[in-house]
């Protein structure tokens, strides 16, 4: 009823292949974008923006990256945290070497550095598969993390051993550094995320995306159909690392502001992103958003939300509880709904379509 597509005729191939073929979907997306771009910066408090929206968007970007590799191409990666780090450090080096160029350019360009590193570590994927590959990506994680600590050139020989985010402006308004307002950071981040999501959506719906999915479903069959495995897999690694790298650069420059750089890209961050992809739904862009919203807001909710309704909860206990809940939820989701939150949304949509009848 609410989702009835009766009367919406598709008369061209373009209309048939559209990403949002149904009018209701297009309206929904427009409403969501309007809320995100106008309502939230105007009305949301600084706390909501900096501890809910910004982490959510940063992780959504990283989750899209990992989803392209794991969900669409079927290659498990445990190194996404390190690729985020490559983006952050590349962006830092670039903006200190060429301070005149706009920071947004460097945030995007740093993704290409991450992509290059990703390709290097993706080369073994032709020979080795499955769990063996997962362990191989752990090699990337530990090696790159070691580089971040041991190569002083990467952090400009700072005494603190971490990167310090300098102030950069866009049209005279500060968007990074201490003077940047949360609203500005949020808007810049949102623009990047929306643009890259649009790009990813086009990629996975097109020829490249279909060849990725063919490789995921059965790589030998895909090879027989004429898909060259090595370029396809390496492209997946490159695009995935690109997204992770941009996410890492955004994380450092628009959210953290340096300081915690060494710790932010450890193996736990990789696992975190992987959980977002699993809970959100493998092979779904919407799932990347849902999963990252879920996982990134859960600790905040436990730390600030639960005491707010009167149940006292110490910080340490809230952290332990987060671990328990995330662990339990992963198992729960795998048993009950292996396709994640995105699948729940699909089911809801189907229910709305046939409402008020059950079938």
């Amino acid at each position: 009823m609410f989702y009835r597509e009766v009367g919406q005729y598709k008369t061209t191939y373009q209309a048939d292949m559209a990403v949002f073929p149904i009018l209701q979907d297009r309206i929904g997306i427009a409403v969501i974008l309007a809320i995100a771009f106008i309502a939230i910066p105007l009305f949301a408090s600084e706390f909501i923006i900096m501890s809910v929206m910004v982490p959510f968007l940063v992780f959504a970007l990283a989750a899209i990256g990992l989803n392209i590799l794991t969900g669409y191409t079927g290659l498990i990666s445990l190194g996404s945290g390190a690729f985020m780090g490559v983006g952050a450090y590349a962006c830092y080096k670039l903006t200190t070497l060429f301070p005149g160029v706009n920071i947004i350019v460097w945030i995007i360009v740093s993704g290409f550095f991450s992509a290059a590193i990703g390709v290097v570590f993706g080369i073994p994927s032709l020979r080795i598969k499955g769990f063996y590959l997962a362990v191989a990506t752990l090699a990337a994680q530990f090696f790159l993390q070691w580089c971040f600590v041991r190569i002083p050139w990467l952090y400009n020989y700072n005494v603190s051993g971490a990167i310090e985010v300098p102030e950069r402006t866009l049209f005279g308004v500060a968007i990074t550094g201490a003077r940047a307002t949360p609203e500005m950071r949020y808007l810049v981040l949102l623009t990047i995320v929306v643009a890259l999501t649009w790009l990813a959506s086009n990629l996975v719906h097109g020829r490249i995306g279909r060849s990725w999915m063919a490789v995921r479903d059965m790589d030998i069959a895909a090879e027989l159909m004429g898909i060259k495995l090595l370029p396809t897999k390496l492209l997946a690694f490159a695009v995935s690392s690109f997204y992770c790298g941009v996410a890492g650069a955004c994380m450092m420059f628009l959210w953290y502001g340096g300081g915690e750089a060494n710790d932010a890209f450890n193996v736990n961050q990789s696992f975190n992103v992987l959980f977002m992809v699993i809970i959100g739904g493998l092979g779904s862009l919407l799932g990347s958003f849902l999963g990252s919203f879920f996982i990134s807001t859960l600790p905040t909710l436990l730390k600030f939300g639960v005491p707010a309704i009167g149940i006292p909860l110490t910080g340490a206990f809230a952290e332990h509880l987060t671990h328990v809940m995330v662990g339990a939820l992963i198992i729960f989701f795998l048993i009950v709904e292996p396709h994640g939150l995105a699948r729940l949304w699909q089911i809801a949509k189907q229910k709305l379509r046939v409402w008020p009848f059950p079938y």
Partner: protein, 324 residues
């Protein structure tokens, strides 16, 4: 530069053979302990096809339970060897309960799912155990009750090659325990009814079920065995350092051991463990200073990856034949 990389370390080895032997011994002991963790992985993979990421946290959890129970006994004034071994029994019971719980809650609903789903489920298990362990036992490191368990201590000094090599008694004990356990497990897998059933289950869940093997029973047995291995590993690692959640990172070290040896091979776990342990120590000691120390964190992976380029299934792994 080339001289420093290719020649100088070997000259150093030849000049001080006692130091070289000492390095190898330390690598050997580290390798034995890696092999123990890897053994827990192999057991579960061999018998159920599940890649158990939670093995590392099971080691920590078992060690923490042991120490925690002993502390509880000590608070009633009940200490000494009997209390220590009673704590071992309690810890074993906890590992058994864990095995039953895992089988009931996690594995049974996921029968016949793709491998990756089961792998991810053990990720969930890892986080669950981390959270539970921290809630029950606290996050601070604990001292392993090595004396009360009657583990040997002290140092043996040997005169080898004109220098002194010191061997920790504890390390020798660890090596002996590991050898005995590995031999016992190998015999168990090869010659007992249950061992044969375990191998059948690993080959195919469906086929094993259809010839009347109880999948649930087998899973409980194999997870319990892995729990026992985890407890022993926890005791040995805990006695060398502390029992803390930091030990998890060691479990990540066991992964290159696994891919080097092959997921399905008990001897592979041992050989892989020794190669990684010794290679890593030698690499760190002789080549580490050239590129900044701390290369231990990734050197093991580089060794494993180099092998994988030539044998993608590991040294002793089963060769995969793929069909459409």
């Amino acid at each position: 530069m080339l001289h420093k990389i290719l020649i100088a370390p070997f000259v150093e080895m030849a000049a001080m053979p006692d130091l070289f032997v000492q390095t190898i011994w330390e690598g050997f002991v580290g390798g034995v302990l890696y092999a123990l963790i890897a053994l827990g992985f192999v057991l579960i993979f061999k018998a159920s096809g599940v890649f158990n990421f939670a093995q590392g946290i099971m080691v920590v959890f078992a060690g923490l339970t042991l120490v925690g129970v002993y502390e509880k006994f000590a608070s009633f004034g009940f200490t000494g060897m009997i209390a220590a071994y009673l704590s071992v029994v309690v810890a074993l019971a906890v590992m058994f309960a864990l095995a039953v719980a895992v089988e009931r809650v996690v594995l049974r609903p996921l029968v016949n799912q793709p491998d990756i789903i089961l792998f991810m489920a053990t990720f969930g298990l890892t986080y669950l155990l981390i959270g539970l362990g921290e809630t029950i036992f606290g996050g601070s490191p604990k001292v392993m009750i090595a004396d009360q368990l009657g583990l040997p201590k002290g140092v043996i000094d040997l005169n080898i090659l004109g220098g002194r090599v010191s061997l920790q008694m504890l390390d020798i004990a660890a090596a002996v325990v590991a050898t005995v356990m590995i031999a016992a497990l190998a015999l168990f897998f090869q010659y007992t009814r249950i061992g044969r059933a375990l191998r059948a289950v690993a080959d195919s869940h469906k086929a094993a079920l259809s010839v009347g093997i109880s999948l649930n029973q087998i899973w409980i047995i194999v997870w319990f065995t892995a729990g026992v291995v985890a407890l022993i590993t926890g005791i040995m690692w805990g006695a060398r350092s502390d029992v803390s959640f930091g030990l998890q990172t060691i479990a990540l070290k066991a992964l290159p051991v696994l891919i080097l040896g092959g997921f399905t091979s008990v001897p592979g776990a041992i050989v892989g463990g020794l190669i990684i342990g010794i290679g890593e120590k030698i690499g760190e000691f002789y080549w580490g200073p050239l590129i900044g120390s701390g290369i231990e964190s990734w050197f093991a992976y580089v060794i494993a990856l180099t092998f994988l380029m030539f044998r993608p299934q590991g040294l002793f792994g089963d060769k995969l034949i793929e069909r459409i």
